[in-house]
Amino acid sequence: LKTMRFMLLFSRQGKLRLQKWYTATAERDKKKMVRDLMQIVLARKPKMCSFLEWRDLKIVYKRYASLYFCCAVEEQDNELITLEVIHRFVELLDKYFGSVCELDIIFNFEKAYFILDEFLMGGEIQDTSKKSVLKAIEQSDLLQEVSCIQY
């Protein structure tokens, strides 16, 4: 069953900024996996390829400014399209925050999760139209303090 297992965002200093897990995993296992993986990815050099094998998974990662975006997928998954999943997520963050930077994700962590959730569900892409996803996110923002009308 091909699926994305988890996505991590972390800084060059090894600070975890976002962690989304798509399969039930014990907390202490999560911590260990994050530590292991951060160490491996941070040790990679710039010219190396964006994929590596880790345990029984494949890791697809890309660095954007000070943040590493790291996805774990199953061995048979399509690596290049996963790279573009990461890129699409970055585009969404960028559009929402306006030239997104790490600080935006630190101070608005819950928004970063909401955006990710609009885009991926259970590790699968929901909608690949940038417009649709952004519209859905903006709609949520508009519903802020306003009570919702019963449909």
Partner: protein, 676 residues
């Protein structure tokens, strides 16, 4: 962008996050967090009922603290309360909290499921999506029990909004993955398949993930999706980049959907219907053609999207393994990528070619790239890429190139990453045995393996070389000579001592005529390594010594003296002591005839499946698929290897049949056992 919260900014949260960032030490951070936790606890317990905004803020703070890595053991109730707020952002935070901090308290679960039920039946699409998300995020059995029957209905209902359909499809997928027995498609099957024809591309994209998973488990029930998938794919592939508007990604039409359609088709054999098949082949040819066209954009996103589709199409071609023309074209395309500037493409090409190597249609085409692959093995800077090259060499190996490939892999092994050495050793051992025409080459290869990567040479490998040497008369002398020479090295690996000890014990007589390898010289050589070895190796050496006494009576006195000393007969290890005592006694009281019978040459081993192959399969898991296929192809005696001989023929075996004594069985498998 200024670092303040956007939208409804919870100021208190921003201040708290700032405080944490300003902490100079871990202790300071923990102190600040504990202060906040105490504050939140008191607010939650307080007399005054908290308003929604405050509750939201505190729950969000707790979430932040948890995500930092600290344990949180309260707040669940407040989060669950937020779910019943009719303010969207409060609900949202509530759902986020409970999705991240999953709690198995049954009372909470009941309340959560209730809230979800209300939101699902609210007919408010945003609330419905929130609820569906939560179910997909948590995916617990309790949720599956509560909602698995409701969601398919939402998915196919005519009045469900597109965004909700998308969420419903993926939510159902998650539930199916975790609790397949609770998701009964039955009456929904045809309508779910029909979603492939939906006009909303987002709905199709989401539905196809669900359908692919269902097809894998129930291919017959969902097979109508094949022709729909082919039509859809065909329309996308032949569309201009402006047709699909927002679903075009950097000038590539619907790349995600295309990849998913191609992936879905890999769940089924090639379409039986001629028209459908024809259309699909046309599609695949178009995709291969497009790869040769100049790119529409210089951006890496464009080429990644385009190539993602190409690689998926090649996967499908390989899966079908029935269109020689397409297979050869795929191979050529991958061949081009092998030398591409981009490391990612070289990596993927090497990986993809591995599977192509095992198809009889493309095996020869793959072999033509051997020099490029060898070059990659030697020069690629990224260990991931080098490893793919090694895998490909293994996959493309056959009689015609085995010597060359084994030599390259041995040379690679000298500097390979420790993490991959064991697997490399297994592969070299398998190839050397599989393609040995001249078994002295095989013996050399295994001894080289021990010399280069002794620590990673598992028991299966060195047992195997001994079994083969025992079974093949023609290589015994060569093995004795080679092992003798190898043992001369000042620092030789313990595995070499094991192999050497065993072989010299059995066949040392074949080289004893030469004064440079006379019996005493052989004994002294082995004994010089004795004290450096572990207990199992020493036990093996002791057995070799008693065999020497039988083979070379002139060594009896010397060896007996060694056996007699305290360090042997009073050795604290029971096995060693027992052997020393018994061998000493045997050498003193047995007549030469009895001794010769007891220590007769080891009879041939019965033919059996190589345990090395089993070990490799276990190690590699799904990646070993090509290996298995490869083995099957080779076993069928295809043109690849001209009917390989897997071991000694039975005539040779019959000639060597001699009675076995109890003693021999003890030493038979080369294993050191503690029980007799």
């Amino acid at each position: 962008m200024p670092a303040v919260s956007k939208g409804d900014g919870m100021r208190g949260l921003a201040v708290f996050i700032s405080d944490i960032r300003n902490c100079k030490s871990k202790e300071a951070e923990i102190k600040r967090i504990n202060k906040e936790l105490a504050n939140i606890r008191s607010k939650f317990k307080g007399d005054k009922a908290l308003d929604g905004y405050s509750k939201k803020k505190y729950v969000c703070k707790l979430l932040f603290i948890f995500l930092l890595g600290h344990d949180i053991d309260f707040g669940h109730m407040e989060a669950v309360n937020l779910l019943s707020s009719n303010k969207y952002t409060e609900k949202q935070i509530g759902y986020l909290f409970i999705s991240v901090l999953v709690n198995s308290n049954s009372e909470l679960i009941r309340l959560i499921n209730n809230a979800i039920k209300n939101d699902l039946s609210s007919r408010n699409p945003t609330f419905m999506c929130l609820a569906l998300h939560c179910i997909a995020n948590v995916g617990s059995r309790e949720m599956a029990e509560a909602f698995a029957s409701e969601i398919p209905r939402i998915l196919v209902a005519g009045d469900t909004m597109d965004s909700v359909k998308q969420s419903a499809a993926l939510c159902l997928l998650r539930l199916y993955k975790t609790s397949p027995d609770l998701v009964l498609m039955g009456e929904w099957t045809s309508r779910v398949v029909h979603l492939l024809n939906d006009q909303h591309m987002g709905v199709v994209t989401a539905a196809i993930s669900l359908i692919t998973c269902l097809s894998q488990k129930n291919p017959d029930e969902f097979k109508t999706c094949v022709s729909l998938a082919v039509s859809r794919l065909s329309r996308i592939v032949s569309s201009a980049s402006t047709d699909l508007q927002d679903y075009t990604y950097y000038f590539v039409p619907a790349p995600w959907l295309s990849c998913k359609l191609l992936r879905l088709l890999q769940c089924y054999p090639p379409p039986e219907d001629g028209a459908v098949k024809g259309r699909l082949v046309e599609c695949l040819e178009t995709i291969l053609n497009k790869a040769q066209e100049p790119p529409k954009s210089k951006k890496v996103q464009h080429s990644n999207a385009k190539n993602a589709i190409l690689f998926e199409a090649i996967s499908l071609i390989i899966h079908y393994d029935s269109e020689p023309n397409l297979l050869v074209r795929a191979c050529n395309q991958l061949g081009q990528f092998l030398q591409h500037r981009e490391t990612n493409l070289r990596y993927l090409a090497l990986e993809s070619m591995c599977t192509l190597a095992s198809s009889e249609f493309s095996h020869e085409a793959v072999k033509t790239h051997i020099e490029t692959v060898i070059n990659a093995l030697k020069t690629e800077r990224d260990v991931s890429v080098r490893q793919r090259a090694a895998d490909l060499l293994y996959a493309m190996c056959d009689r015609s190139n085995a010597k060359q490939i084994v030599a390259e892999m041995l040379s690679y092994l000298e500097t390979a990453d420790y993490s991959i050495r064991e697997e490399m050793v297994l592969k070299v051992a398998i190839l050397a045995e599989k393609y040995a025409v001249d078994y002295s080459w095989y013996v050399d290869t295994i001894l080289n393996l021990i010399r280069i990567a002794g620590d990673y040479v598992s028991e299966e490998v060195w047992y195997r070389v001994i079994q083969i040497v025992i079974n093949r008369d023609d290589v015994q002398g060569y093995a004795a000579k080679t092992v003798f020479e190898a043992l001369q090295a000042p620092a030789c690996h313990e595995n070499m001592v094991k192999v050497g000890g065993y072989i010299l014990g059995e066949f040392g007589n074949l080289i004893a005529g030469d004064p440079r390898s006379s019996p005493l010289v052989q004994f002294n050589l082995l004994h010089s390594k004795f004290h450096l070895c572990s207990v199992p190796t020493r036990a093996l050496l002791l057995s070799a010594y008693i065999k020497f006494i039988n083979l070379f009576p002139e060594t009896k006195t010397t060896i007996q003296e060694v056996l007699r000393c305290d360090s042997q007969i009073r050795n604290s290890d029971v096995e060693l002591q027992q052997r020393a005592v018994e061998y000493l006694k045997l050498s003193s009281i047995a007549s030469t005839d009895v001794l010769a019978t007891v220590l007769e040459e080891m009879p041939p081993f019965p033919e059996r499946e190589s345990s090395i192959l089993a070990k490799l399969k276990k190690k590699k898991g799904p990646g070993a698929v090509s290996v298995t296929e490869l083995e099957d192809n080779k076993r069928e005696g295809g043109e690849l290897n001209g009917g390989a001989d897997r071991g000694p023929d039975s005539a040779a075996m019959a000639a060597k049949n001699r009675p076995m004594s109890n003693f021999s069985t003890h030493c038979h498998s080369g294993k050191i056992t503690n029980n007799r």
